[in-house]
């Protein structure tokens, strides 16, 4: 116990706020971030039952803008940005020619030819290098620009069913850009609008990573602390609590949202990770298309499955072997004790012929074998 925190770690503009509120700080993807304030279970259940606020300023913001932005993004990412009206966002991936995943990301259409990409903290440098590399070979390169604005922007996520009790107080009135709505609660899932905070434009999206209703707010780095404090003040009516990355991870694991480095990496495709829904086939060529199409037709050697432990066991954790009939067939990539269900849950890769809800597998933990069963995703459903 007692994590050694390197002086090399990056800090978000909310670092002082985390210290003031007693957040327990750990290293995550090169950043010094709060893992918890009270306890992971407490914060997790707070998000499921009321609301929690998370610092997600470590995530990256990249602008893609210009008359050829649609064509560039459609040639570079798996999903189809032509599906996006102004003020709408989509989940997508960037793949390599061999189908491995560079990163998974959210793409928001802020204006007709202006897109905001939200990428993983640990992948900002790799993503920007990849996007610039693709831009250099893009036929209409002079018609589109790629700009990393990660240092200029910060972000928070407010998640949980009671967010609707106070989000309109935090951002009064109608949006002034993006989706045209009378109030933040007028946004539907995946919509994004622009409001004003202390004289600056902020982006408010009805998205999240918890499986609950919620909003993600991207604001200039200098304005995020006042927004965080104000949210905690007005959020009192929704029992809003600050939450750390520990609860963020257990919440997303229960609903089987992928985390780069676990369910996805440069040797794993969106098809293998069960994210084929976000790969569009009727939009022309894009990086990785040939390999992804072969995989969709059946040429995969591993498939992501979700499971829950059936007997009392230690929590499954990333790296533990998955066994079927006593033989190692795969590896756990995410796992925890589910705070909502109080049972061990996880995800892992197995050969496709062994994948399917209801089918057994077991997890080896410190040399002992514990029974589990595969379940349909998401592992946790409300109600």
């Amino acid at each position: 116990m007692g994590d050694v925190i390197s002086e090399m770690l990056k800090r978000t503009p909310l670092f002082a706020a985390h210290q003031r509120r007693g957040g327990k700080l750990i290293e995550f993807g090169g950043w010094e971030m709060p893992v918890q304030y009270s306890s992971i279970v407490d914060e997790h259940l707070c998000v499921r039952r009321s609301t929690g606020i998370f610092d997600i300023s470590h995530m990256g913001e990249v602008w893609v803008e210009g008359p050829a932005a649609v064509e560039f993004l459609n040639a570079t990412c798996t999903n189809d940005v032509r599906k996006l009206a102004v003020g709408l966002g989509q989940y997508s991936q960037m793949c390599t020619e061999t189908g491995g995943t560079v990163d998974d990301l959210y793409i928001y259409r802020i204006a007709d030819s202006r897109f905001l990409l939200i990428v993983n903290a640990s992948r900002i440098e790799a993503d920007v290098a990849w996007l610039k590399g693709r831009h250099a070979v893009f036929a209409a390169a002079e018609q589109v620009g790629v700009e990393d604005a990660s240092d200029l922007w910060a972000a928070v996520a407010i998640q949980g069913p009671r967010v609707i009790d106070f989000i309109d107080t935090l951002f009064p009135g109608a949006s002034k850009g993006g989706a045209c709505v009378a109030a933040p609660t007028g946004l539907i899932k995946n919509q994004i609008g622009i409001w004003t905070w202390e004289g600056s434009d902020v982006f408010v999206a009805r998205t999240g990573y918890s499986g609950e209703d919620g909003f993600e707010i991207v604001a200039p780095a200098g304005q995020i602390e006042s927004l965080w404090e104000r949210a905690l003040a007005v959020g009192h009516v929704g029992c809003l609590q600050p939450c750390g990355l520990g609860a963020r991870d257990t919440l997303r694991t229960e609903v089987c949202y992928p985390l780069y480095g676990h369910e996805l990496d440069d040797a794993t495709s969106p098809i293998e990770a069960g994210l084929g829904y976000f790969v569009s086939w009727d939009k022309g060529d894009f990086v990785g298309r040939t390999v992804l199409a072969e995989q969709k037709a059946g040429a995969i050697t591993k498939k992501l499955v979700a499971f829950r432990m059936t007997d009392k066991s230690p929590p499954p954790r990333p790296g533990y072997p998955i066994l079927v009939e006593g033989v190692r067939v795969g590896t756990v990539v995410s796992g925890t004790q589910s705070p909502s269900m109080n049972v061990g849950i996880g995800m892992g890769f197995v050969p496709p012929e062994m994948a399917g809800p209801g089918r057994p597998l077991s997890v080896e933990i410190r040399g002992r074998v514990f029974a589990a069963e595969q379940v349909k995703k998401p592992i946790y459903r409300k109600g």
């Binding site: 116990m1 007692g2 007693g22 893992v35 918890q36 306890s39 992971i40 279970v41 407490d42 520990g246 257990t250 066991s313 230690p314 929590p315 954790r317 925890t336 004790q337 705070p339 109080n342 410190r366």
Partner: protein, 128 residues
């Protein structure tokens, strides 16, 4: 938040406590340790009869976030384990010096206890 460090116990640097009564020792983890772990969800204890050496990993405590080894502060033979804490691991959080104890052993090297931390030493270590 200040952690409790009872005056009648001895401590290991790795955050275990020992209560010595004649040639029997009871072992658990400290209030500071349970604060650091939070949300204890699983406890794995050694088999009765196992012989352990001081400093040997002989139990595991798991929180939602992580699994941590528990090192025996003293050498001896395990004589009893706390089945109740296996059934309800949250007792490690609610009563680390009481119902949340881990195991008892019969000391094989009683003099080892003199090299353990005093409550004052341990308080200094954790900044309490």
């Amino acid at each position: 938040m200040s952690s409790q460090v009872p005056a009648d116990l001895k401590y290991a640097k790795s955050h275990e406590w020992v209560r010595i009564n004649g040639d029997t020792a009871t072992v658990g983890i400290t209030d500071h340790a349970q604060h650091e772990l939070t949300d204890v969800v699983f406890v794995e204890l050694p088999a009765v009869g196992r012989v352990v050496k001081a400093g040997e990993a002989c139990a595991v405590v798991e929180s939602v976030k992580t699994a941590s080894d528990i090192y025996s502060p003293v050498s001896g033979t395990i004589t009893a384990v706390n089945a109740a804490v296996v059934d309800d691991p949250s007792q490690v959080n609610s009563a680390p010096y009481g119902n949340g104890w881990f195991y008892q052993l019969k000391l094989s090297q009683p003099t080892e206890a003199t090299s353990l931390l005093t409550p004052a030493d341990y308080s200094t270590q954790i900044g309490a």
